[in-house]
């Protein structure tokens, strides 16, 4: 169990900048998620920590010791890959034993056996131990991969999108299991994903990366409620946040054709400001102050996504349960003004002064 610290890590591949001055401080036992789109530098960060990739500049510390020049084998990390991490020529048991049999570690046979049985039990894969890995389903394979990481109690788990090749149902259940396991095992974990739901649901804290740079670090609540930029705001939350341009006039923010109007108290607005409204903060009701036409409904069972068309914008709203509004109907709606997000036209968050966040 370790604290992992990255200090201004930079890395280029040829001409391409993969990481630019990335600094992170991951606490002991923390479940830390790196979230970002493809090519953001998440995996490179993970590989630098594992020692599989050497940074061009900056330092990596495990607890207080500098590990820059320590080869991967001696760093005592466990890496779970997106796929291909089980050795296909071995059984599940042999796969689990492999890291323990490393000449570096020297566990005795009884100890190895005990650790494997223990891990297999935790992950409910005891019945698979004698199976060849090629004959496992995707979910079973990833369970075994996680097993191979936990058998030797490493200083840190590094997980590179371990759930992304599984189908949705498995992903859901494995997500919960993994989170529970991490909390009960108490292992510092770095988890890379491009899936915002995975990030929000699992992380103690997360870092949003884009183009090799860290955009924001915070708890899931921070990221969801106070996105630092329009990029982050659009990355988390599904359906996506409604984002549109407004103009400042007479102390209020107006959408371009005045269909929407918001109080701007506490803001120092520029003449143009982007406003973000999460779909759940729009409620359709007869008392609503604004009006729009229903153009599409997507019933998901638990809730319905209603596509609204105002005079100047298209807005998505979430209605709990079944929506009885007809397509083409004009409805009134309300916006939860406490939960509005404001951004500059460059996409930077504007904190509302005096407005409780």
């Amino acid at each position: 169990m370790s604290r992992i610290r990255l200090e201004t890590i930079s890395k280029t591949f040829g001409e391409e900048l993969a990481l630019s001055k990335v600094s992170l401080d991951i606490q002991d036992n923390e479940f830390f998620v790196l979230l970002g789109p493809t090519g953001a530098g998440k995996t490179t960060t993970l590989r630098v920590i594992a020692g599989l990739e050497k940074q061009d500049a900056g330092h990596v510390y495990f607890d207080e010791s500098l590990v820059d020049s320590i080869p991967p084998a001696d760093r005592d990390t466990a890496f779970v890959f997106q796929q291909y991490s089980l050795y296909p020529n071995m059984t599940v048991y042999e796969n689990l034993a492999f890291p323990l049999k490393s000449p570096l570690r020297n566990f005795d046979a009884a100890d190895i056996d005990r650790r494997i049985k223990d891990a297999a039990e935790k992950l409910r894969i005891t019945h698979l131990l004698e199976r060849k890995t090629a004959r496992l389903s995707g979910g079973e394979m990833q369970r075994v991969s996680i097993g191979r990481a936990i058998v030797r109690k490493p200083r840190v788990f590094l997980m590179d999108e371990p759930l992304s090749n599984l189908d949705a149902k498995l992903r859901e259940s494995l997500r919960v299991e993994l989170k529970h396991l991490q909390k009960t095992q108490e292992v510092t974990t770095l988890f890379v994903t491009h899936d915002q739901i995975e990030a929000l649901t699992m992380a103690d804290r997360l870092a949003v990366l884009n183009n090799g740079k860290i955009i924001q670090i915070g708890s899931p609540d921070d990221i969801y409620d106070r996105p630092a930029s329009t990029f982050v705001a659009q990355l988390v939350g599904t359906p996506r946040i409604n984002l549109f341009e407004t103009e400042f006039a007479g102390g209020k923010l107006h959408s371009l054709k005045n269909a929407l109007e918001f109080d701007a108290t506490g803001l120092e607005p520029a003449s143009k400001t982007l406003v973000g409204i999460r779909p759940e903060d729009i409620s359709i009701s007869a008392q609503g102050t604004f009006h729009a036409k229903v153009v599409l409904k997507e019933p998901l069972g638990v809730e319905t996504i209603v596509h609204l068309q105002t005079e100047d914008n298209k807005l998505l709203a979430i209605v709990p349960g079944i929506s009885h509004h007809q397509i083409g109907e004009t409805v009134k709606f309300e916006v939860n003004s406490d939960r509005l997000h404001f951004f500059t036209t460059e996409g930077e968050r504007i904190e509302a002064k005096g407005v409780a966040a």
Binding site: T38, E172, V176, H180, G237, R240, L300, I327
Partner: protein, 362 residues
């Protein structure tokens, strides 16, 4: 436009069924989604409708005309593939015009139709480029345009959004649905993503193990799943299913919990189960937390999903149920918590047949 009818259609490879004999009617103008996990036979069904795959036996009718042994090109259908299947050596305009040239239309007429469909899909600016350089979403738009340009009898779509990333998928989902509302063309759409199916379909046909499990509107399959498979498969996460032993209006769940069956369900349980095992099913949003709740559980994990949080509760050892909660309610792992199930939203299943029980009038 067409009504499509499948009568005892099946597909076999030797002894193994890819699709067991099935009957299905797709009404003119319907958007029907074939939904199921990989390998359930949904794609094979679609390919048999298209004629890309031959049937082992059975009859396929388009508007009461037998097309079972007709070549795909003679069926007047448009097929949209998961990986776009655009011709990389042609520009987007040529790609879209291709099906029209095949049917020998006039040049001016082709131009007019391509222009119209490009406007509809907002891809006018892409017409001169080749598909290779386009994003996945744009490529799929072009592929859709190629399908739409011709007004075929039916659109057949095989996971058209499967190769797109999440962001594009949501946009395209709404776009395809909007197009359907405008065009009202008979559409058969294959997906493994239940959210897509719920959001888009007029009717969902849930398939598993080469068989139809349930066919109905999105809300029917969501609220009244016909069996355990559908209950599990629909919803994100699926329905919570807990097995217990029933006797005289009460279900014993594990060692610690007794669940009292709502009055209007008693008759059904008494007649079908009598005394014995039953599965209680309820959706995560049917959980009502209250200090006086009749069910006790401990928090296994707790996570934020954005607008709400999901509590994972250990009701019986190793059986985790999911409960939708207000995101402001935070609980520690291991906390005990009491809840009730919304009596309107509870469902019961027979564990032996795996089928849902029906409420019977008293």
């Amino acid at each position: 436009m067409a009504t499509i009818e499948l009568k005892q259609v099946e597909k076999r490879f030797g002894e193994a069924y890819a699709v067991k004999p099935m009957d299905m009617t797709i009404n003119n103008g319907d958007f029907v989604v074939l939904l199921g996990p990989s390998g359930c036979g949904k794609t094979t069904t679609l390919r048999m409708i298209s004629g890309l795959e031959s049937v082992s036996s059975g009859i396929i009718n388009f508007n009461d005309k037998d097309v079972t042994w007709l070549h795909p090109s003679e069926r007047d259908i448009a097929f949209v593939f998961q990986f776009f299947a655009l011709y990389s050596h042609m520009t987007c305009r040529e790609n879209i015009a291709f099906p029209l040239r095949a049917s020998g239309e006039e040049g001016a007429e082709i131009d007019r139709k391509v222009k119209r469909v490009a406007e509809m899909l907002r891809i006018e600016h892409l017409l001169k480029s080749r598909p290779g350089g386009l994003s996945g979403g744009d490529q799929q738009r072009v592929a859709l345009a190629r399908a739409l340009v011709r007004k075929p009898a039916a659109f057949l779509m095989d996971e058209p959004l499967g190769a797109l990333d999440a962001e594009f998928r949501e946009t395209m989902r709404a776009e395809i649905k909007r197009l359907h509302l405008e065009q009202n063309a008979t559409t058969v759409y294959v997906t493994h993503d239940q959210i897509e199916a719920m959001a888009m379909g007029d009717k969902i046909v849930v398939m598993s193990a080469a068989e139809i499990q349930q066919a109905g509107t999105p809300l029917e399959v969501y609220y009244d799943p016909a069996n355990l498979f559908v209950a599990r498969f629909i919803g994100s996460p699926g329905m919570n299913l807990v097995e217990g032993s029933y006797s005289e209006g009460k279900i014993k769940l594990g060692d610690a919990n007794i669940y009292c069956v709502p009055q209007d369900w008693r008759a059904s349980l008494d007649t079908t189960i009598g005394t014995g095992e039953v599965v209680v099913g309820f959706r995560p949003e049917a959980v009502q937390f209250s200090a006086q709740g009749q069910l006790g559980s401990s928090v296994y994990a707790n996570d934020l999903h954005g607008s709400y949080s999901m509590l994972h509760l250990e009701l019986i050892k190793d059986n985790i149920v999911n409960a939708r909660a207000d995101r402001r309610d935070r609980h520690q792992m291991g906390d005990s918590i009491k809840f009730d199930i919304d009596p309107e939203q509870v469902r019961f299943f027979d564990p032996k047949t795996e089928k849902a029980l029906q409420k019977v009038a008293l």
